[in-house]
Symmetry: D2
Subunit: 137 residues, 4 copies
């Protein structure tokens, strides 16, 4: 299955009064990672939506191992773990490489939905791209 | 001109590592105040958009006088200050009433845009509602 | 176990280009619900932190059943489901009462941590409050 | 005066139901730009705070020229425009280079505050760095 590694920086606005990244913001990081994953795979997510397909999140979860702080450079590793008929599943791991600390892991499940017809089959070309074994880059 | 007073509570996710509300979040508060303003005026903003009109923000500004903290109950006073041909202007003041502290003030300008025709005149019924002198409630 | 019901309104900034509430924002709603829960229980969360205790989120999850839209009035039902030595677990259900639609459910787990001593026992007075069977209000 | 150019990508969570970046999020972009500015200048903002100095925003403003969309790659040009006794002012311009569209401009003013002594003079070494004419990179 395809995977992708993406780097980003924690901004001040991501932190909370505990001095660490606010827990909900990890789901923004997961999404930024998914966006980078699709881009790296040559998939333009905007074209999927332009074709009348939306891919809402059906479920999402995160485990928090260590706090991340302002200005930390983090790496998110995004991996496809399931490509079903209309369902797609991703796994995430966020690491601070400067000290090899695992910050958080997570999972999201997505459904391919036509705005008019309900659940639809994930298109074959996209399916092939998602299932391809590539090297994390 | 119409005005409206709205109360809300600071959540943890609104704060940053300085221990106070992150500066960008005041613009979310301004918008929540505008939403409450429209609702109190009997205007369903979703119907405006359903009619093909969007009302994007043209400019926005804020001055920060004192920090707000987690769980503070704040009051935002929203007032229309200009109703032009297609332009609308709001002013905001956020106060923590428990200790009578002025937290922030701000302003936003908005343009009425048809998705197809560009700038459009603010509808007369809405114009009348916006210009009405009411009591802040 | 204690539970609490809290009402809130979806703001424009909570939505995304799909026209519905962005998935990460539900975790903000969960937190707003927890805040309301503690307030209703007479617990000042700021005092807990002032005493050197932090209560970070250890894990969080959500299931999304139906989309919520701008200006929807939603109700979140927050319930304690576990009060361990230093671990606390909450369950959430978000409903749009206007049409009796279940929007999302979720769970968060929290650890009581002393800034200096690591995991600490949840104080007995707080434990009693959390375990009390009350009526959702 | 010093300036710096920073690139970033619009994520889904930054957009709203109008299909464009939500107006408040530009202030997050401004802050990400400031962070990149300080990093490029060799200033560790966390050390400033560790020394008991905070640099809260005193005022902020933005003008919106054209909408930005999901997955747009944007460039923010951050420039110091004033270095006073304890006051610092930045100007921002956000451009989508793919089609040379100016998206937004803005300004923020900041005050150097000691947590114990109120307004403090901006340290000389930092002052020199801020005033240096460099090339936007």
């Amino acid at each position: 299955m395809r995977r992708h590694r993406h780097r980003f920086r924690v901004i001040y606005g991501d932190t909370d009064m505990m001095g660490v990244v606010y827990y909900a913001n990890y789901f923004r990081y997961f999404e930024a990672g998914r966006g980078a994953f699709f881009r790296a795979a040559g998939v333009d997510y905007r074209e999927i939506e332009a074709a009348g397909i939306i891919v809402p999140v059906a479920s999402a979860s995160a485990k928090y191992y260590a706090p991340a702080h302002y200005d930390d450079e983090l790496t998110i590793d995004v991996a496809v773990t399931e490509v079903g008929f209309s369902r797609l599943r991703f796994q995430y791991e966020i690491v601070r490489e400067s000290d090899a600390t695992r910050i958080a892991t997570g999972e999201t499940a997505h459904a391919f939905l036509s705005r008019t017809k309900g659940l639809v089959r994930i298109p074959d070309d996209l399916r092939a791209i998602l299932k391809e074994d590539n090297e994390a880059s």
